[in-house]
Every structure is written in C-alpha cells, then in structure tokens.
Symmetry: D2
Amino acid sequence: MSNKIGEKFQITSFGSSHGTAVGAIVDGCPANLELSVEDIQKELDKRKPGTSSVTTPRKESDEVKILSGIFEGKTDGTPITGVVFNKNQHSKDYSMFKDTPRPSHGDYGWMTKYGNYDYNGGGRGSGRVTIGHVIGGAVAKKLLETQNIEVISHVTQIGDIKAEQHPYDEIKNNIEMNPVRCADLEAAKEMEELIVAKKQEGDSVGGIVETIAINIPAGLGEPVFERLDGDLARILMNIGAVKGVEIGLGFDVANKSASEINDEYYIENNTVKTKTNNSGGIIGGMSNGMPIISRIAVKPTPSISKCQDSINLEKMENKKIEIKGRHDPCICPRVTVVAESSTAIILADHMIRSGFINPSNLNE
Amino acid sequence: MSNKIGEKFQITSFGSSHGTAVGAIVDGCPANLELSVEDIQKELDKRKPGTSSVTTPRKESDEVKILSGIFEGKTDGTPITGVVFNKNQHSKDYSMFKDTPRPSHGDYGWMTKYGNYDYNGGGRGSGRVTIGHVIGGAVAKKLLETQNIEVISHVTQIGDIKAEQHPYDEIKNNIEMNPVRCADLEAAKEMEELIVAKKQEGDSVGGIVETIAINIPAGLGEPVFERLDGDLARILMNIGAVKGVEIGLGFDVANKSASEINDEYYIENNTVKTKTNNSGGIIGGMSNGMPIISRIAVKPTPSISKCQDSINLEKMENKKIEIKGRHDPCICPRVTVVAESSTAIILADHMIRSGFINPSNLNE
Amino acid sequence: MSNKIGEKFQITSFGSSHGTAVGAIVDGCPANLELSVEDIQKELDKRKPGTSSVTTPRKESDEVKILSGIFEGKTDGTPITGVVFNKNQHSKDYSMFKDTPRPSHGDYGWMTKYGNYDYNGGGRGSGRVTIGHVIGGAVAKKLLETQNIEVISHVTQIGDIKAEQHPYDEIKNNIEMNPVRCADLEAAKEMEELIVAKKQEGDSVGGIVETIAINIPAGLGEPVFERLDGDLARILMNIGAVKGVEIGLGFDVANKSASEINDEYYIENNTVKTKTNNSGGIIGGMSNGMPIISRIAVKPTPSISKCQDSINLEKMENKKIEIKGRHDPCICPRVTVVAESSTAIILADHMIRSGFINPSNLNE
Amino acid sequence: MSNKIGEKFQITSFGSSHGTAVGAIVDGCPANLELSVEDIQKELDKRKPGTSSVTTPRKESDEVKILSGIFEGKTDGTPITGVVFNKNQHSKDYSMFKDTPRPSHGDYGWMTKYGNYDYNGGGRGSGRVTIGHVIGGAVAKKLLETQNIEVISHVTQIGDIKAEQHPYDEIKNNIEMNPVRCADLEAAKEMEELIVAKKQEGDSVGGIVETIAINIPAGLGEPVFERLDGDLARILMNIGAVKGVEIGLGFDVANKSASEINDEYYIENNTVKTKTNNSGGIIGGMSNGMPIISRIAVKPTPSISKCQDSINLEKMENKKIEIKGRHDPCICPRVTVVAESSTAIILADHMIRSGFINPSNLNE
C-alpha cells in the first residue's frame, strides 16, 4: 500500500482510527517557511466533528504534535512530522463489522485485499485518516501564502438544494458564518434543515464542494501526462466519498458549442487575461493565470442505521446489517477542509516542480 | 516536462504533429505476451481521422513501426517502442499562430512556459500526440485480454442528444456500426446530424464518453493515495478537451440519500456481488469485482473558424483570430479510442502493481 | 529534501539528533507479517552507542514506539510508524558550530543549502538519523526471514588491520563475541586496541564493512537501470562516512583476466550453481542465486578533538576549530547495523518488485 | 523491466543489439538549449568500436537520428528521441547461446527471469545498449556546458599498469592522443601492449576509469536518501562490467585517520575552499564546490574464446562453451564514454532538481 502523494512536496500519511495515532510526514517543504503548531492546529480544528448540528456528535479532540522539521520557528528543510494521538479508542465494540462489509463502504476491499483489517472505527479506512491530508494541507497553505496564493473550498449543493454563486470575498466571509460552510446564507439554512432531517431518518445525503484557488501564476503543470488538471483530479478523487471531479464548466461543456464557451484573450495592464473563465484556470494541462475552479461530487455517507443487506465473508452467506453509531448525516461540510488541503498540496507541489519556489530554501 | 504515465506498466510518449515522428515506449510489459504490429495498428486505425462525416477530412496514414521489444512474436520484457513517422508535415503555413494563442486551446501555456514552441499543426499540443496513448493502450489491452479483461468506450451524449443505456454486448456491437461510436443507433443518427450542422456553421460541439471495463478482479488499487479511482481520474482528465470525470453515479450522488444508492451485497455461486453498481466498480479506492464505469465530459474542439478575440504575445496587443483549416467539429468519437487506451493502461499497471500479473514474465 | 528510499517497500525517515524525535514510516510492507516492537528494538539495540570501549561513551536509550501498522500482532498492510523520542537533547552548548563547518563533516552543505540548520548535535546530519534506517531494516529483515533470506554485516578491516575470511556460520557467531563485530577474533582484538589508541590521541580511524545475504532467489533486479547492484550501491553509498562500494571481487577485478575470474556454471541437484562467486551474487544487474556480497569503505569519523582549520561562514573569515565531545573513534562497528538494514531494505523492495512476495498480503 | 534513470532529467532507453534499433528518449530537458544531431553524433563516435587496436575489430556505423524534441535548432521542452538503426543484424549464428549462458555474462538472468531472450549479439544485454546512455549523456553535457560544468572520464589502470596522476587540462588533452584514453602517455603505451597481448591469448583484462567533473556549484544532492554520491554510485554501478565505485579517496579511507584526510576549509577571494579534496567534492551527500571525482572498477569482458564450463538450461546438463567472435579484449577505453555520459546525466538531473536550472525553460 502506498500512502504518499506529491512529487517534490510530498505527504506520507499514516495511522488508523483506533490505533495509537494518525498523522503525516510532509517531506520537501523548503527551509525558512515560518511555521507553528498553531498553523496546523487551526486547520485541524475546521475538520473536527462534534462542533455543530450537521456533523456527528462524536467529540474528538485532535491535538497535533510536531515531532520534527521546525527549527527556531521556521522549517529547516527536513521532514515535518505531525502526529495526533488517538483517545478513547477502545470505547466501543466493532466486532460485528469484522467479517461483514458495510454496503458502499470501503471496508470490503480492506478485508479481502489485505486479510488483516483493523475494523475498529473503520481502521485506516476511517475519515479520521484525513487528518494526515489536513496536516499536509496546512503546511502547503502556509507555503502558498508566501506567493499570495489562496485556496478556499465551500459547499455549493446538498441534496437538491443549490447555492447561488457568490464573489470570492463573500464566499471567504460567509462560509465561516454557518455550519454547512456554504456561501449562500439562505441556502445554507435549508441545507442545514435537510441534513438534520436526514439524521433523524437514520439516513444521509450527498452534495457538491467547490474549490477556488486565486493568484496562481500561469505555467503550473505540464502539458501531456503531469498536467495540473490531472493531478488535481487524482487527489480530489482520492478523497473517500468523492465520485466525480470537474474543472471550470465541467460536465456542462457536453452540450455547449465552442463559440459559446471559448475563453477569449485580451490584454489588461500588460497582463494576459481571458474574458470568461469556463476553463477554470487550466488549459492544455497548465494554469493560465485565472482562478482555478474545481467541483467534486460527494456521496452520502454510506454508514446509516437503516437495515441493509450484506454478507458474512467468513461464512460466505447473506446477512442483514444495521449500523448503529453517530455518523455524519452529510460529510460535505467536513470535506471542504480536505478538498482545500488536497488542492493546496498539489499546488504547492507544482509551484516547486515548475521552478516558482526554490526546492530547498525559501530565501533563495 | 514529464511525458510518462504508469508506475510498473509505463508509457513514455514523444513527438509532435509536424516533427519527424510521434510514438511511445511501453516499458514494463512482461515477457511472453503475444504481440504483433497489427495489434497496435488496429487500435490506431480507430482514432485515424478522415474516415467519416463526423471527423476532420484530413487524411492521415498512421502506420506504426515497432523498433524494439518483440522477439519471435512475443514481448521479451524489454521496452516496446512504437513509432509513426509523420508525412506531409510542411504542407501548410501556421505562422499566424506563432504569437497568437487560440482561445481555450492549450497553445498559450506552451508559448509562455517553454518559450520555443513548435506551433505547426499544434506541435506537441496536437491531438496527434494521442497516438502515443493508443500505442500504449493497444499493448495494455492485449495484456488485459490474457486475464479476460475487456475495456470499451462509447459516446453517450453529443450536445443535448443523450443515448439510451444499452447492455454491454450491444454497446460492443453497435459502436462499430456508426461513425459516432454510440450504442443507441437512433441517437447516433441525430448526433451525426448535429455534428454535421456544427461543421457547416464553423463551430464545434461537446459530449460525454463512457468507458466500461469488465471481468476486473476485486482488489485493484490502494486505499489511500494510489487509489484506482484517483489514477483513472488523472489519466482521463489528462486527455486534452476533458473537463470532468465521474465514476459510477458520479455527480448524481449529490442529490441522493445513502438508502437510495448504497450497493448492497449478496452471495451468488460463492461469489460476492452487489445488487446495484452505483459505485461503478470501485469503493474505498479499490475495485470490488463489478464492472468499472467512468464518464468524461469532452469540451467542443476549441479550434473553430468563427472570428474570435485573441492577442499577439510578442507585441502584447489585442488581435482578432480566425482559425481556418479542417478541424474536428466534435472530437468525441475519436476520444473514445483514447479513453479506452488510457483506462487500459491504468488497469494493466494496477494488475501488475497489485500482484495479479507477474511483472517480468507472463508465464510465471 | 527527499527522505525516502525504496519503491514498493519504502522507508520515509524523519527527525534530528536534538529535536523531539527520530523515526521512520515503513510503507509497502505486506499484511500478515508477524511483527512486534521487540523485533525492532532488538536491531536498534545493536546500533546503540555507549556499550563498549570502541564506541562513544554517550548513553542513548533508544526506545522505539510503534504508532501504526500492526493489528493483532501482525502487519495490516498500512504504514508502520516507528518513533524514538529524544532525551536530554538540550544538555550541551553547540553554538560554536553554528557558523563554523567541521572539516569533512556534512554540516557545510546543511548550512549553505538550507540556510536554517539545527546545528545541535549535528541535527539531521547526525548518525542518530540512522535510527530510521534500522527501523526500516528491522521490518525488512522480518519480511525476508519468511523467505529464508538472511543478511549479515561484519567488519573486515580497521586501519591497516585486516581480518581473515571466515565461513558464513562462523561470521554470524563470532561478531556477537566482540565489540568490533569482526569475525576474526584475533584481528578483532588488535582492531579494538587500535581504536582505543586513536581515541586517546583525539583522532579516529576508518575501515571496511562487508555484507553477506544468503538464500536469494535468482532474478532480483532489472538488467538496465534498476539493477540490484546499482540499487545496493546507492543505499550503501548513502550511509554517511561511506566513500566506496564494491560487489564480489570489487576493485580487484581491475588487474585480473577473464579467464581467472569468470564464474563457471555447473548443475548440482538440478540447480544452477557457479564454481566461484567472484561476481558476488549479481551479474547483469540481477541476482544469480549465489550469496550477495558487498563491501563498503568507511572513513574515519571527521569529528576529532585535534585543532583544525575552518571558517566562519557568517563573517566569511578563517577560524580554528577544536571539536570537544565524546565522538566515536571508529564508526565501523555501528555501521554494520546500518549496512545490514540498508541491504535488507533493498532486498525486501526487490523481492516485492520482482513478484517473489505479494505486495499486499503475505498469505497470498 | 524499468529502463529509465533520472528524476527530472530522465532517460528512457530502448532497443537491443540485433533488433531494429537502439536509442533513448531524453525527457525533462528544458527548452531553449541549442542542440544539433552533431552534438550527439560526436559523443557516439567516441564509443564506436573498430577504431583502434584495443577495441573489437567489429565495425559499427552508429548514425543517430533525432525523431523529436528540437525546434529551430533548440530544444523545445518536449522529449528528445534519438535512434540508431541497427545494420547487418542477421550476419551471424548465435543459436549456440540460446540455452547456454556465458560465464559471468548477464545472459543467465535474461534467460531465466524473462523466458524469451533475444540471444542474438547479446540482445538487450549487449554493450550496444549503452548507445542510449550516450545519447542521454550528450544532451546532459550540452546542458551542463551552459553552466560551465565539464565532465571527463579517463583510464587510470589496466591490469597491473597504473597511470600517474595528471592535472585536469593535461588529462583532457592527452586522452585524445591514445586509443586507451589514458592521460599518462607512457603508461598508455604499456596498457595498449597489454591489451593486444590479452587479445592474442583469447583473453581479456580489467581496469579502472576515473571521472572528474569541474565547476560544480555547492549544494547539489540531498543529505539523506537522494544524495549525490548515492545517485552517482547507482548509475555508475549500473554500467555493465562495473563491480566497484568510489568517491574521492574511496577505499583508501579505510586505513587512514581523520587527522590525515579531513579536508580543512579556508576562504579565498570570498569563496569557500578546502585545502585537500579527499572527499572528492561531496560531503554529507551534497557537492561542496570542489571537483567531483569518482572511480569505477571495470571487470575484464567475460566473453573470451578460451574453453569454459557452462550448462544447457533446456536440458539442465553441464556443457563446455567456447565463445568465438570479435570481442573487446578490454572494455575500459569505451567505458570512459559511458561513465562520462552517466555522470553528466546525474549532474544535469540534480542541477534541475536543486533549482540551479529552470525545469522548463533555460531562458528563465
């Protein structure tokens, strides 16, 4: 099993839901980036459950410790290791899941492929594992900030409720004002109601998360196989629960003509711009200097308390399953933090790979 | 610029539209696979333009030569090099594109990032470069055939015309019967008419291409960062003109509840199956043994003869552009071959990486 | 900075001498390998200083903790994280080394390349960092044991004292009986005396470490660029203090004729063998089934208390340096553990890469 | 089988002795490097056999063709493909080698690991395959020249004849004046006589090749696992016939004290220098600005006409073998070109990886 992502700016993630710890090594961050434990804790706090009506009521105090990589308040070029020790990890009996995979949950693969699966709390298949993504993303975001690059993710749809589009600054502001992390405050209320209703039914609901990155230089990504859109699509599709990724207009291009959606060029203040941004900031696999916009389809959390058909893999016979517990009725609000982190990791990686940031020393 | 994809089964692509040749090295194919030049030529012929009303009328005789890797009719474990020499490559004057990027075409990135761009016929940004993908895909498909795995791509939407769903065998049969490579023969006719109409307007239209892979063992892909869905999303998004990728239900998961779409398990003939396949054959990043189903959004070819606003990068001033020439009014039918090849490459790679195929010798 | 080695069986190392911790993630170890914290501690204890007259008198209690990757006494396919927390790391003043590189010590590169160097105790340039190698090597050795593969390193030369050659079983036995880890017990005594004499002079001395791996199947390694000899040479040369690597006869081939040293084949018990093993178990980049034998040249520890010429990098002026402290007068005995670990890591990696061990599950 | 080397500046090699062609793709060379087919041909001509008394009398006209990657006399950032088509490849009967491995020749591994081995002329195990290395090295050397970096390899020992050390400029001049490529012209004559004598005996002899690279900036390489010395050791050990690699003093460090060999620092013209260069330009895995000096042990060509013991793998029985043909009685003079190329590839790769050369465009 490979647990790394990125080429020059590289994350290696480890740990499982109910093991000793979860965390990540961030390797390849140049020296001389100001970085504190608070920079990472701040991002982890955003993904923490138990903070609102729309997430699981489970309380998890995810306190990160830095084991290496920072010297006198700055990175020193060596690997940055962030660890969150798990607490209360033996509080519950998960043995009913030992041989019985949950419908549409990843555990079937874990059980059959590896043959020794820590089924407690989902093990390494748990959403808790995204703590590693967020540690990596926090470092990436700090690194991108030195180049004025910002990355932000927000919820644009939950079930059949769609948010109106808002300008960047409003998105940034509004998502902090509601538990759904949606920029359209009216839609946010309806979304919240829908999620609470699903929770009461013992069901869950899906949605869409959009990510916007601004102040990107033209020329990130390579035009054939290490394209920026391909690398973004990969890391976003790698997030559990994601079943679709689109850039710019995405699937809407299917019923459009080129004359309707081509992004025409013009010069403004000696800078190249496009009149529209249907390409979502990437053409030919390379950034063109416009904001990079992606959207991901997030499926409803598969763990629901309704009775479902499953099997016992040990006995190879059919079996019913009811998954009790406090699961997220909608994972989208928490996925925003992971999408933001994932996007930041790829952008940081390509900023180094394309020569915009010195690979060893930020002061060079 | 990196021009390779795959880890164990690896393609390195080279060449440009109007240079001496285009092609690819396929490295990591195990020895003892029966392989002939015809196996590769057959796939290349499918992507060849000039064969119907719906593609560009440009004739390209893409005859492949094998420079290495086959001994006595079988692969010998060494790199397989396939080359197509370009013909008539100096037939036209492309100098108008030297400093003037085409709206929504990748050439802007090439011009600004590399600073020495072969603008003739799109250079390495040309669709002709997918010859390398198809060479790789042809070898991958032969390798997958030894495991009974089949991969097929077909058009499911052009503009606002959507095809009805058909069973696998009908798809396989019907796509050979119409130039659009659509399984719904009635829709195919309408699609063809729409494309011809767009051609006459000097415009182009987008669409959707679906890929189905069958007889996949459970356990391909790794559950965190080298997931099968992530790797498929990357290679598919890397195809020029693709702006979205989805697996299984894709973006339709957004307004669904888990109780509606969870794939429940059952045992049939001592084999694990799911009642539905909304997951598209992949959960938790790993194949689950059900057919793998992906869909890509293909934008309308950006090169159109309508007048558009662009710029002159040398003079940094605004400039109009009209792109004369014989461009594909809809690239979807030809993209099917590239999507099929790309999917086959990733599947072959993961079959080796996950230990289903010996990396050195097919007879082991 | 990249801190990983191996392709399928991959080590990512982290930490520095006087930071919070040192350790490594072992990624890619198949599930179902029996593994305990003692298996790792046992190897770490071998490299621990302060245990004899020939190492530094510094006491380091290197107690490893496992943060992830083991479930019910066996690996579960997920990353194995081993950590040793540093103790007493602020016991000494290293500020004299802040801007003054030690002759032939790596710190000059750290200072100039990264520009924010934790100079305390050598920082990440310290030999303490090889704890990560040994954690990785301990897991690798357990994995290799399941295939009956053994790896052993021993000292064959210190200064001008050369050990007589001994058979494998005697080497294995004898190295545990003397602090130099030399198989020739008489030479070992002389070596010990030489090292103690060098210590009293405030100087240090070099030597040679040989590594033998037995029960290797034929066919590890690939014949052009991912050769087994090349990969071994890399990981061994990557050990600090190593200035030369040889396989089999090594530099002695230079004044030999082919007729003297060619390894002739014969059949014994339906098995292919060679009469001699001048190739050291590897020809054409691939193992041939004979024992793999390598030798490394280890330079004298550069940190000595004699007065030396150096510079102040901040002021860019010449400056004398005397390096007080308790340094190893000869690093060879402790390097044996690192060479053993490094060799085991590469062999485990190639056993998986070449298909001899299933990448996911040892029971498959 | 993987056939690539390098990370950012990457060579993928292909082809076999008696197949259609041999060659390489050079991927990752930045755009705007002036490059002509003559630049590559010039290097290939140096490794060509049949040019003197000390090489095989086989004539090989190795004329390279460039299939891609150059536009208007300069690289354009796309992969550079160089091909040499083989001639007269069916001139001889090699069937006696089909099942009978030559002692100490790589063919045993090819036969057993891949099971479909092109035994004609050694197939891909032939020295002819180093044409790919030399194509890559030629591009690397041109790229390094833009940074004033020079790389040169020369013979320092053949059998028991050792050359006196010479200053860099004399080495550069003298090696062109004798077929052995040795800087000591008197020793060169004796070496030539020894080689001719070995040829007449139907035997062969080994030697040592030294490589010097000058004008290297400090800071190439990374200090733990992607060290410059490790990467050089790997690529040099990957050359067929090489059994040992050393940097700087190499194996002579074993019987030295630190006080004898530490490289003391001083400031000259505001530049950091070392009084001696026993480290061979690399400490702590990173270049220190002094010349990089490596030495490789080259074994005698294993293919000799004397009768040797071997086996028939098909019948699994013992068998004598006499290898008739025109083999190099000493491969060292031709290995110089391959060592030079290999060193240049790694240096070019690290110049890009460490941020000294822009990865996309030499003009940036």
